[in-house]
Subunit: 431 residues, 2 copies
């Protein structure tokens, strides 16, 4: 479309959008493709799934984000194959050539090859998946009303696998539904029979955070009635029975899988470029190993050794993606101008996880650890800050304030009923 | 569950919920079934479809609405057959017996037997349908980017059939998208080529309102660039070509059908109870003709002759449903107490329709007619008033204020891509 060199960005997550923004007013043409027409804020998926937020408030249209950036072109497309030789991406809408390719495809759920768990478990790596989980949680209670004891117990038992932030936050949100919301909605059910189990294969929750945060999160969840199983590895789930390596079994209808991710690798990248976790090995400039015009940023990038503080690569979190996107935009401009490049160096702003009202944990650099109300307020502040769009911030804020004072979650709606794949149909299948 | 006489209400629309509320603290047990777990506010579906509102803000969980009403029981269920002899409803979750049955099932889209239009046209009688339409509108523009002239024209042409409030409001909202939003989102397209056609078979728009309102609405829409076709009857739509009785053809990908509704009649009601528009004939107490324990209220009820001011039945609007639900609740209690019943008499509070920012029309009793800014403010006030739930009111208000000052519609998200039934697949089919 222009004679400017073209940067093709695959993915409109944080890495992709920060790169595209950084290339505003640059000599490049920026072409972005994504399967969706929006950027979504993954850290709040769990609140969509547990009826606390509407999906529309945590997603932002990509076209709107770049409406005033004249060198930006967007297309909804799925990349089917990258042809590194001809510098072309084959996509669902045809071929797109590039001068520089930036792979910012993020990560997908990793079931570690357990097909049965994948078929029967729920995951939360997209907005439709979060909505499916919301529907299923509510459908379970609707169906429980129609069941006798055994089936009812199973429908009211929620097993969350993975003790990272997603697992911890989901367990906390479910515990609050159990405490404040569901007893009013389902007076016919004895909500004491609702069980929430959080299973972690490691020896502590929030393994990426401090020991203090792990301990505080554990205590906060246990106070909310969540059953925590450490050093426990799930091996199977047929839709009814969850099995573990240690021999503990859980009869539960719902398994929420938050135990692992892997790089969302596009087809066509040679295997020698791929490293641990299905991620693309990159150097300190995010250049993919063995390529001269292909970069990878965000969750898909594995920068082992490039950043002195992170010899084994960076954590797969939003802040790394944001900083990699920004740095790469500067380096591409430097490259174009023949200026020396600057290697990536991650500035960790800290990490946090919320458990429930007035309950959160936060670790900051220099060893500062916060918990309780102040950590919870910090968590909300930071999440509102990084959520994109003034309307979104306002709507999320309204929802949070409303929930805080009413002890309610406002969006308990089964808009599109979820149809289970293998096990018996839930009661509610209305259109 | 109790020895109280059971009132089974089918449908959680306005008629059903006002009846159930009126039976609070009554001697009855109230059992409500609905296909959805929420009450939805139909007058704002068009704003969901045109990216102005999130669906979660115009729907309210039925369980929450009645959380403190101890004689209320809710089930998600579809009624398959009513067995009037055994006073039982056969449903998707089993048999439900009743002492009194109240049919409050509302209305569904009426395609007047045109299967082809039904298969290829879009309607807006449920939240999932409104979301499908939102997706399709956006998908059309995404696909238009990939097309040459002819296909592009067809994708950018929107034909709305039906000049009632839904058709008028949808046409106005699309015209505002064309004017304020889409040119920023799609700088590659020439938005002057986007056409919005509103087709009405009668000789004026808003046939249920005053002549002044019809004329004002027509002028306001024409000012926004909407093409209006009166006395024009659509006869077919194969997914590409819309044909009319007068011989005008429209090559358009999208037909939005807002031209008629019919009663959502449950199976099992004898044909002699059914009147015009597939509605159930009721007397002045909303008792269904030929039955002693079956009532019908709201859009499904046809009270011909029962209400002196409305000898041919009432308009199928929310206010009639609200008042019928309230009146029936009082009459059922009177019936139980052996007190004399009171016939239904509709108090028309007026009617209104909005065209766009600062543009609306309103007719009030005693012949008062409003237009422009004041009618528009009145429209917003009344809609916020009748929208159920404080959180919903607040979120809708935030969206409206935000849109007013930014000239933007915030929720242009293709969350679940719509798959057309017959015609070619749209470009975007990402998960």
């Amino acid at each position: 479309m222009t004679n400017r060199p073209r940067v093709l960005i695959i993915g409109g997550g944080y890495a992709g959008i920060m790169l595209a923004k950084g290339l505003r007013n640059s000599p490049f043409q920026v072409v972005m493709v994504d399967r969706h027409n929006y950027h979504a804020f993954q850290p709040l998926y769990y609140q969509v799934a547990t009826g606390g937020l509407e999906p529309d408030s945590i997603a932002f249209p990509l076209r709107k984000m770049f409406a005033r950036q004249e060198n930006y072109v967007f297309r909804i497309a799925e990349v089917q194959q990258i042809d590194t030789e001809n510098k072309t991406a084959h996509t669902s809408i045809g071929e797109i050539s590039y001068d520089y390719l930036v792979i910012a495809t993020g990560a997908v759920t990793n079931f570690f090859g357990m097909k049965e768990v994948e078929a029967n478990g729920m995951s939360m790596k997209s907005i439709p998946e979060a909505l499916d989980l919301r529907s299923l949680i509510l459908q379970n209670f609707e169906q429980a009303l129609q069941e006798v004891a055994e089936g009812r117990d199973s429908l009211m038992k929620f097993v969350i696998v993975g003790g990272g932030p997603t697992g911890v936050e989901t367990a906390g949100a479910l515990a609050e539904l159990k405490r404040h919301v569901l007893p009013n909605d389902y007076p016919e059910l004895d909500l004491r029979q609702m069980e929430i189990h959080l299973i972690e294969s490691g020896d502590r929750l929030l393994g990426g955070m401090s020991e203090k945060s792990s301990a505080d999160a554990r205590k906060a969840l246990e106070d909310l009635g969540v059953h925590i199983w450490l050093d426990t590895r799930v091996t199977g789930f047929d839709g009814k029975l969850i099995t573990t390596a240690g021999g503990e079994d859980f009869y539960a209808s719902t398994l929420i899988w938050a135990a692992g991710i892997k790089g969302a690798l596009p087809e066509g990248m040679p295997t020698e470029s791929v490293g641990r976790g299905n991620r693309l090995q990159v150097d300190q400039y995010n250049l993919v190993k063995g390529h001269e015009h292909i970069y990878a940023i965000g969750d898909i990038a594995l920068m082992a050794g490039g950043d002195a503080k992170y010899p084994n690569g960076h954590p797969q979190v939003a802040q790394v993606a944001i900083q990699m996107g920004k740095t790469l935009s500067k380096n591409l401009i430097r490259l174009h101008n023949g200026a020396p490049l600057e290697g990536f160096s991650y500035q960790d702003p800290g990490s946090m996880a919320t458990i429930g009202r007035n309950k959160a944990v936060a670790d900051f650099p220099q060893g500062l650890h916060l918990k309780g109300l102040i950590a919870w307020l910090a968590w909300m502040f930071v999440h509102l800050l990084f959520l994109i769009g003034g309307r979104n911030k306002l709507v999320v804020f309204v929802n949070w304030v409303w929930s805080y004072f009413t002890y309610d979650k406002g969006t308990r709606l089964i808009i599109r009923p979820f149809k289970r794949k293998k096990v018996a149909e839930p009661a509610a299948q209305g259109v």
